[in-house]
Assembly symmetry: C2
């Protein structure tokens, strides 16, 4: 740990049947998504990841080669961000592949971006596009084949480390979180911890273009779909925010307001948006 | 992280049906055993634990109150060592309670005790007594009731943090590991990583006194039984080792020798001891 820095620790489960299915996701994809989940948590604090640790429990009858593929996908993404797999634990699983990913990161002391720093009047921004990952799940649930290239945020999520770091270095983000559970759920965490409400302009929410045709996903998926691993952050009203940071599109989608909860629309058209992220999709499966 | 220190990270699964059974272990006991597992890894490096993180996946139909009991047991042990539960992740489990425990520790830079530092001629020592935890499992497998007080290392394992720290501060241990998987398995790791063999004097191995009668466990359980969370360490032949460290009995049980593998007996009576720790017990269940 460099002098003047503090340590960030993130832990996230990746469970077969909950976060992935072996018939839908190749071993490489599962490995990559698993590490991306942990790295994205570090990105959301403006930190820099330094090492990953993996607890892996495997069923006795797992096909030979699956773990090799998993570790290959895991390591490929790790290499991209200079994050070595530094240790972990192996156990036998009673049922299904169970992975828990721990990422250790560092951030200058006192500079980690919290969920609690938003003020009323702050504008809300999001990186990239939303709903692409959930769109892939919808197609898979219909039993249709999915071309991974058409859903990059689902099959090859790349965490927004550089964006998070840039925002922290420039002192721009007052609060931040990543969209692992979906915008409606994750933004609600910023609301709770900052003691505020949020108003979203649904027309502004950037929707992912997916599949062969590249059509935009439904608003519902962009509002509630999880596992896009984009960043949602707030910034003071008068801050100028670039259109792109580290090559990633940045879109203003609403504002923090006194009160509580996430709302769709402004003024008279305003209505409460229930948190229907990840949980919602799980129950329908 | 204090200046001049480095960070230790340990991760360990505690899985229902593998590491515990809800019909055998109360929620409090599971929580305590779970944290003890992580703390013991830090003890084995001579480190001091500073915080714990917990990933917990719960089945939908888990009885109300179970998690409260789990966290109560977890926190009670944490309080004893000043280790707060600093964060984690909650998910739904497809089947059974799944916990992954991450413990962060610190140790003065370059002073962590490794498994690789033993030299030929070093003596082998163990803390406390062995086999008590496995003895409880044997009774439980026969379907008999077990009085937790008769098997403290199984139901209330207390990690050997103070012993590990003392050994590190006094520069005594050349290599160290904890007996989470059983002496034959864990000592084999020191052998592999130090490029040596080990000879054990079976008459010297301290066997746990268990149950109502307080009879000593079979040698087989002391050699192979896991989850005692004692420390096995090596020290140069000429080092004087106290009979007790931090109130815990220390016993010399053998020596490191050129070659490879763990052996029982010396000279002509010597025979290879197969690693039959944790895995062995699991398959018989």
């Amino acid at each position: 740990v460099p002098d003047g820095h503090e340590v960030l620790v993130t832990t996230d489960f990746c469970l077969e049947g909950v976060h992935f299915r072996r018939e839908w996701h190749s071993a490489e994809v599962v490995g990559q998504r698993c590490l991306a989940r942990g790295l994205s948590d570090v990105a959301a604090m403006g930190g820099e990841p330094v090492a990953a640790f993996l607890s892996l429990a495997l069923p006795a009858r797992l096909p030979h080669g699956w773990v090799d593929g998993f570790l290959r996908g895991f390591r490929e993404l790790g290499d991209e961000f200079d994050v070595p797999l530094a240790g972990g634990d192996i156990a036998e699983s009673p049922d299904g592949v169970l992975a828990d990913i721990v990422v250790i990161g560092v951030v200058p002391k006192g500079k980690a971006i919290q969920r609690s720093g938003a003020r009323a009047g702050d504008r809300i921004y999001v990186t990239g596009e939303l709903g692409g990952s959930a769109a892939a799940l919808e197609v898979l649930r219909f039993g249709q084949k999915v071309r991974p290239g058409g859903y990059p945020r689902h099959f090859h999520p790349v965490p927004r480390i550089a964006v998070g770091k840039w925002l922290r270095e420039h002192g721009i983000a007052s609060a931040m979180i990543d969209t692992s559970d979906g915008l409606s759920t994750d933004l609600a965490h910023i609301c709770e911890e900052s003691g505020l409400g949020a108003e979203l302009n649904e027309d502004l929410i950037p929707r992912a273009a997916t599949g062969k045709g590249g059509g935009e996903v439904d608003l519902r998926l962009a509002l509630h779909g999880g596992e896009d691993y984009e960043l949602v952050f707030t910034a003071r009203k008068n801050r100028r925010i670039p259109d792109k940071i580290a090559g990633v599109r940045i879109t203003e989608i609403g504002a923090m307001v006194p009160g509580s909860g996430v709302h769709q629309g402004y003024g008279g058209r305003r209505r409460r948006l229930k948190a229907e992220g990840w949980e919602h999709f799980k129950r329908r499966s």
